[in-house]
């Protein structure tokens, strides 16, 4: 537990310190939302569907940016080798990186969700509350996936291109389920209606967190 | 024979692709084997030399 907390704290601190890039990230989220507004041309009647779509595009982007950055920073200053050689349990290390990625994504998503609420005419109270489950599960799933994959992609040439190529196909079932769950939530359906989709999301999360924890050691090991 | 061209196209593509892949393997194989024999020969030539470095200069000249 101590190792987990220590690595998590380090990652979050590094992230906060590099505040410069966080602003750029918010700017990018805003602009992506703008593109989606013009692409989808949202009408009130399609409100739920368009907002759900925009939300999940934003989620994937946030995740992509977050995961690569944390890994690249580690590899660049040789920190990763130090962590690998230390007696930290790789699963705990994975957990810490996952938590950091999740926190980072959450921050970006708060901004994106705020923008979506404005641009797509959502209601700040009820709608957001309804979106919370699908959003949380989706973020967790993507963080789990991306943390494992970023460890791989950051060690290859053109690593930041490889990450989306690997991550997005794997994430598709979560996107399908997540968009449907979000859409159902925004359409005012009771939670039960979206429950199959949330179930798939939850299963996805369990699967990938488990896989990540088991396989992380094979990915960070250096010979 | 309605839509025969689609049927023909589908089966043709299947066979063309399979043959192309086999051809790809075939060509690679020839190259690999030449390289392999070359390496094995080099290894044979080097083997008697390596254990005793003192003999090296005699063999080199």
């Amino acid at each position: 537990m101590g190792a987990f907390a220590a690595v998590l704290r380090k990652d979050l601190r590094l992230e906060i310190r590099s505040g410069r890039s966080t602003i750029a990230l918010f700017a990018l989220s805003l602009l992506i939302m703008v593109v989606l507004v013009f692409a989808l041309n949202p009408q009130p009647i399609d409100r739920a569907r368009d907002a759900a779509a925009a939300l999940w595009v934003a989620l994937v982007f946030a995740g992509m940016l977050g995961a690569t950055r944390s890994m690249i920073a580690e590899n660049e200053n040789g920190c990763m080798s130090a962590l690998t050689l230390s007696p930290i349990d790789p699963a705990a290390l994975y957990g810490a990186k996952l938590a950091a990625a999740f926190a980072f994504m959450a921050i970006v998503e708060i901004a994106a969700v705020g923008l979506i609420t404005l641009f797509f005419n959502l209601d700040f109270g009820a709608d957001l509350a309804r979106l919370a489950p699908s959003l949380m599960f989706g973020t967790l799933g993507f963080a789990a996936l991306a943390t494992l994959l970023a460890a791989i992609s950051s060690r290859t040439r053109a690593g930041d291109l490889l990450l989306p190529i690997l991550a997005i196909p794997l994430f598709i079932p979560a996107i399908i389920a997540g968009v449907k769950a979000s859409e159902a939530a925004l359409s005012g359906f009771p939670l039960a209606a979206a429950s199959q989709w949330l179930g798939i999301l939850a299963a996805f999360d369990v699967l990938f967190i488990t896989l990540g924890a088991l396989l992380f050691e094979h990915v960070i090991r250096e010979d | 024979m309605e839509h025969f061209d689609y049927l023909f196209a589908a089966y043709s593509i299947i066979f063309v692709v399979i043959f192309a892949y086999v051809a790809f393997i075939w060509r690679r194989q020839a190259r690999l084997e030449t390289e392999l024999h070359a390496m094995e020969e080099r290894l044979q030539n080097l083997k008697p030399v390596s254990p005793s470095p003192g003999v090296k200069s005699a063999v080199e000249n």
Binding site: I152, I172, Q196, L211, R221 | F4, L36, S50
Partner: protein, 235 residues
């Protein structure tokens, strides 16, 4: 020994293929609704079977590689991934060629095509990884991890896509070539084609796998030679 199996598989493939082709074009009756285009089905389905089976092999080889750390498993996995990609592409192409005359569109997001397309993307990711990185032991490990993760993702994909499509079916016509095989000759033709493609898969896998083994041997030899030359060069 190796070459005997290879030749046997090759001959079996040839034989079964010829029988298959005869059955598809001469023996099996034409399907009532779709006409002769429906015959694409008899080779389209086996391609899908091979694509999915190969995927399973990539994953299992990945597990063995991580566990036993023997390069032979990586060679097997890589060969299977390549072949799987080839056949996955064929599924999509033949599927489109079947869809266009029947449904009037080259592509549709029905559950089977969508799932196969996602499988194709997963294969693509694996092969991109191998292509964009040097062939080191580290990359072999990465490949194994990706293979395992992707294979375990597939059931979730199938589930979510099927649910996605039952709630909003894109195409209401079922491809009767698949479920309603009225004539037993159709079933037999399909089974023979499946056998032919299984043999083909085995043969191609054997060829490519042996080739990768040769390549591995070459790499080991290169290293030995380099080591000796370096040792000799020190003096």
């Amino acid at each position: 020994m190796k070459n005997k199996i290879g030749t046997a598989l090759g001959l079996m493939t040839l034989g079964l293929m010829l029988v298959s082709l005869f059955m598809v074009f001469e023996w099996v009756p034409t399907e009532a609704d779709q006409g002769i285009v429906q015959r694409i089905f008899y080779f389209h389905v086996p391609c899908a079977w091979v694509a999915f089976a190969a995927f399973g092999i990539v994953a299992i080889a990945g597990v063995f590689y991580l566990w036993l750390k023997d390069q032979i498993w990586d060679d097997l996995g890589y060969a299977a991934a390549e072949i799987g990609m080839v056949f996955c592409t064929l599924v999509l192409v033949t599927g489109s060629l079947w869809a266009k005359p029947i449904w009037g569109t080259w592509w549709t997001w029905d559950s089977r095509l969508t799932t196969t397309f996602i499988l194709w993307l997963l294969y693509g990711g694996y092969l991109m990884l191998r292509a964009m990185a040097d062939d080191t032991e580290e990359v072999a490990r990465f490949g194994a991890v990706i293979g395992i993760v992707a294979a375990l993702d597939v059931p979730v994909v199938i589930l979510s896509v099927r649910l996605w499509r039952t709630i909003h079916p894109a195409v209401l016509i079922t491809r009767s070539g698949e479920h309603g095989l009225e004539d037993p000759r159709m079933v037999i033709t399909l089974l023979v084609a499946l056998a032919a493609f299984t043999a083909l898969f085995g043969w191609l896998l054997m060829l490519r796998f042996q080739q990768l083994r040769t390549r591995t041997r070459l790499t080991i030899l290169r290293r030995e030679v380099a080591l000796i030359e370096a040792a000799v060069g020190d003096y």
